[in-house]
């Protein structure tokens, strides 16, 4: 009897131990199993920090769901490779150029339904204009970044980037992979040709920009500017303003010809099984309090015109109809149709 009991106890002990072990490992999944999951994309850095710490958890708590964020770029090839009926993301957050490509491939819905996203009524017109797929929740101004300690003097025009005194300390972007680079190429057409679509003028202008140091994303450009590797560069205002209070010898220049718009756009995938939640997320991201918190953390200009920022942010960001009217939006549909040939050409131009 004792032996049987002993054997049984051992068996029970082993079974209980195994169950406990498996249970411990599986517990978080089981606990979350009932919560619907919204799969989104998002940036890293300060954006990722604030989303992870505050904005995301508040959404999860209010809508009783889980947010699963992919911040490992590039997003579109992953979406392209996933099934249309069961896409890898429910909400795609990326810049306008990629959103247009996604819409052309039928990977995202071209427009957000205002009935399902009431906050859409409060956004500036540019955020839902015919230049935008989905809705732009924030925008940055693409202009010039300057080292203030090099004695370059006051800069007012984009054309000063071509000045020979910036040879060796001029910075730009890898045009095939970066929105800022692509928008800047269109600006070159405006500056030296007949308009955004004057590619020949743009190519000629790019040739004359050499020697130039090129990077693939803004974080790299920020580091080049901070280290003094570049003295004058193409950059968006957030890339300069986010160092506010750190006494960095850098400043942002809004050129007289206008600043280009770098939009943070949200779209919903047609095959999403979480449409209601996806629309709720878009609406949530447009809420004035969410917009204010993010704008004052990452220095992006809010799309909701009802947002009232603190004076320091209000002075620098695009927070009035007059300011946003200065934004130059790029015709990404036109650009994407020619992207392949443009990439081939600019790769040749910038080769060493």
């Amino acid at each position: 009897m004792m032996k049987a009991l002993g054997s049984l106890s051992r068996r029970r002990f082993l079974t209980a131990s195994a169950s406990l072990g498996i249970g411990t490992i599986a517990a978080p999944c089981v606990a979350r199993a009932d919560d619907p999951t919204l799969r989104i994309t998002g940036w890293g850095g300060k954006w990722g920090d604030i989303m992870k710490a505050e904005i995301g958890p508040a959404f999860e708590s209010e809508f009783k769901c889980k947010l699963q964020t992919d911040s490992a770029f590039p997003y579109l090839p992953k979406l392209q490779a996933s099934s249309r009926s069961a896409p890898i993301y429910d909400v795609l957050h990326t810049n306008s150029n990629e959103q247009w490509a996604a819409a052309e491939m039928g990977l995202v819905e071209p427009k957000i339904d205002p009935k399902l996203v009431p906050n859409l009524a409060d956004v500036y017109p540019y955020a839902i204009s015919d230049k935008i797929v989905g809705v732009s929740i924030f925008t940055s101004a693409i202009g010039l970044g300057l080292r203030t300690d090099k004695g370059y003097g006051a800069i007012t025009s984009w054309k000063e980037l071509w000045d020979a005194k910036y040879n060796g300390v001029r910075g730009g972007y890898v045009i095939p992979v970066n929105s800022l680079g692509q928008a800047f190429l269109m600006m070159c057409g405006t500056l030296f040709g007949k308009g955004q679509t004057d590619l020949d003028a743009a190519y000629t202008a790019l040739e004359k920009l050499k020697p130039i140091k090129i990077v693939d994303f803004t974080g790299a450009m920020e580091k080049m500017l901070l280290s003094g590797e570049v003295g004058l560069c193409v950059i968006h205002d957030s890339g300069i303003y986010r160092y506010d209070g750190q006494n960095q010898p850098t400043d942002f220049v809004s050129p007289s010809e206008g600043v280009l718009s770098l939009e943070q756009v949200l779209t919903i995938t047609p095959g999403s099984k979480m449409k209601e939640l996806a629309n709720a997320y878009v609406n949530y991201m447009l809420r004035p309090e969410v917009q204010k918190r993010l704008a004052e953390t990452v220095w992006y200009s809010p799309a909701n015109k009802k947002v009232k920022l603190d004076a320091k942010y209000d002075a620098k960001l695009l927070t009035t109809p007059e300011k946003v009217s200065k934004l130059i939006q790029v015709d990404w549909k036109w650009y994407n149709e020619r992207k392949d040939e443009i990439d081939q050409r600019v790769n040749r131009i910038f080769r060493a």
Partner: protein, 291 residues
């Protein structure tokens, strides 16, 4: 009776089967899919109508730019391999022949130590040395030896420096094993017969270490032509290689078919060079083929 014996499953075959299946799943299947994608007009998983096409290869052959990219990739691979061999061979020879166990251990640690740090970190370290505001240029400027920063980065030279630093350990470790197995008494015999140490090395040790040179060179070459991070960071996006072009085609142009075709070309380059190198060294070493 004999028929029963022939149908009995081979024990060794059963033992190898799982690894063969894994190899097929993770090696042949992806390459097969890549080859298939390179001759299709689109992705059949998400597109209802796709057809066979040769347009991706035609585009590559028809545009001198892509041929230039292929040649740049091969050139960087060849130079990296040659420099790694020139640096690695003496070190490997020293390691293989050193009598002191402590000395061997210290040399081995010196070779392995850089491999404990990631490639990205090591490349960033080279950037702090080679950039315009880097240690080398700033020092030379401070001493008045140069008036303008030297162009150490954003060039093929910068890329090769970074790649050699990263891949020399692969060359050294491969060569050390081969050189260590060469009987030293053969060299001594040559010297006893009147050969100088240099001649004994050239006529005895060097030919016998050719399999190691072959293996190390192929390893370094294959790694160098498929490198992505170092050419991007040290080349400053101004030196285009096949891996960078492939990434660009997938991430920004969403052109999987063309990227697959570029990938197949990269694979073919490696295979062709393996065969050619194998034959050339076989002829040099007096064998028809090195096994």
């Amino acid at each position: 009776m004999s028929s029963t014996a022939t149908t009995r499953p081979n024990g060794l075959a059963l033992f190898i089967l799982p690894s063969a299946l894994l190899f097929a799943l993770f090696f042949f299947l992806p390459i097969g899919l890549m080859a298939l994608m390179s001759v299709l007009t689109g992705n059949p998983v998400v597109m209802p109508k796709v057809a066979f096409t040769t347009r991706h290869y035609a585009r590559m052959i028809g545009d001198p730019y892509y041929l230039e990219v292929i040649w740049t990739t091969i050139r960087i691979g060849l130079v990296t391999t040659l420099v790694a061999l020139l640096i690695g061979y003496p070190l490997a020879h020293w390691m293989a022949r050193i009598k002191s166990r402590t000395g061997h251990a210290l040399l081995l640690m010196a070779v392995l130590a850089p491999m404990l740090t990631g490639i990205v970190v090591r490349t960033f370290a080279w950037m702090t040395l080679l950039s315009d505001k880097g240690v080398i240029n700033e020092t030379l400027l401070a001493f008045g030896l140069i008036s303008q920063p030297l162009k150490l980065m954003y060039s093929e030279t910068g890329i090769v420096v970074g790649l050699v630093h990263i891949y020399v350990p692969f060359m050294v470790l491969t060569l050390t094993g081969v050189i260590g197995r060469i009987d030293e008494r053969l060299e001594q015999a040559a010297e006893n017969l009147g050969a100088s140490p240099l001649r004994a090395f050239i006529e005895v040790t060097l030919p016998l270490s050719l399999p190691g040179i072959l293996a190390g060179s192929l390893l370094v070459f294959a790694l160098a032509i498929s490198a992505y991070v170092t050419p991007i960071l040290l080349g400053g996006f101004q030196i285009m290689t096949l891996p960078i072009l492939i990434y660009q085609q997938i991430s920004a142009n969403f052109n999987v078919g063309f990227a697959a075709a570029l990938g197949i070309v990269l694979l073919m380059i490696s295979l062709l060079l393996v065969v050619a190198y194998n034959r050339a060294l076989g002829l040099v070493s007096g064998q028809r083929e090195l096994q």
